[in-house]
Symmetry: C2
């Protein structure tokens, strides 16, 4: 584990955490803002708007116009003076850049309540995540399909990885087995874990970990509501 990994662990789990950040070119705050711009320009395109200025985006998104121009220059997008950005072009470039146009094969690890729900969310597919199979140990779901996606026993993961070639594991297992399952997922050859558990998994290899603990967000919201 490198120092940079260690540092990334000490940051909060609302941010991205990755075990190979040393080669990062794009600032993470930029990467976090790009999907907002995409959501806005997609909406403009659907409304028939053809061009947009960074000032307009700034007003809508509440980010400085100069910051927006800077962010978009990372994606090699430049606006024209007094005209602004071509909306359709900007949408395409952002979507490409963010990886939403490619299809990424993924395994759902844990096909219980949250895992089963995520398998049924068609939104993930729109953003390039194709869940091709699920894994569980519960005999009530193993051997069945959810939304057409086959659910295998976790013991099958290595064999299925060889067949499907999935690179991403979406982790939605109980907290108490999160680490053990992480080890198996890595051993099976997957390269990234999207961790929906509130558990801080510790990969034993250099893989990408993205923590998305929706329940931690709930705690933040409850706390703000009390104030």
């Amino acid at each position: 584990m490198t120092t940079s990994t260690k540092q990334s662990y000490e940051r909060n789990d609302m941010k991205s955490e990755s075990n190979n950040q040393s080669k990062t070119l794009l600032p993470e705050p930029t990467l976090r803002r790009l999907p907002w711009y995409l959501a806005y320009v997609s909406q403009l395109r659907r409304s028939g708007v053809e061009t947009v200025s960074s000032t307009q985006i700034a007003k809508e998104i509440c980010v400085d116009a100069s910051q927006i121009a800077k962010d978009l220059s990372f994606v090699a997008i430049r606006g024209k003076t007094r005209i602004g950005y071509d909306v359709a072009e900007l949408e395409k470039q952002l979507s490409d850049f963010l990886g939403f146009k490619q299809t990424h094969k993924a395994f759902m690890i844990g096909a219980g309540s949250l895992g089963g729900a995520l398998i049924q969310d068609r939104g993930l597919m729109q953003y390039g995540l194709n869940i091709v199979a699920g894994f569980d140990i519960d005999e009530k779901v193993v051997g069945k399909t959810i939304n057409g996606v086959p659910i295998f026993h976790i013991d099958e993961i290595k064999r299925q990885q060889a067949l499907y070639g999935a690179k991403i594991a979406v982790l939605a297992v109980p907290v108490e087995c999160a680490q053990q399952v992480t080890d198996r997922v890595i051993e099976a050859g997957l390269k990234a874990i999207w961790n929906f558990t509130p558990y801080r998994i510790k990969p034993n290899k250099e893989i990408v970990v993205q923590n998305t603990s929706i329940y931690a967000h709930l705690a933040l919201m409850y706390n703000r509501m009390r104030e």
Copy 2:
């Protein structure tokens, strides 16, 4: 909109954003780490472990032991020298503090793919979020129930809010109507919005907004995988 609101908008959406942060007593990074400690101590309790030191937690969670002791002191929890923390007590205090023991009534706004999936996630109930009703405009779901939860037309929201007294709106609608629906939700008297859309909603009143754009997290993961 206050200056503090503006600032909160300019931060990233992986962090909490709230429109009434001026009274915040607890540092947000602390609030983000507490659910990690809770997940770990719950696991210890289930394994029959009775006491835990901050050094042990530090090793497990990859956060400095001194930071952990400081974080826990905000929750008014103190360990005993050479013994550490009582696991059961720590779990109870953390869970109480984070608001997971209380039940918070919520409306699901948008009962499509993601909204329908979230209604079916029993995990939310375990963390204190009780989705009592859903709202949509699609006649295929309006008038039906999902997992026992009735789905009403969005035009019904004000009347249903008066009946149910829900305070939280979970927003899972298409991007293009996110702002319009936000305005209606606030007008109906809800006090907090948990925004699952990638759209930067702008509330016209001082309410709590928690952004959880899971698709933005996907983009972060794809980017790290390419590196």
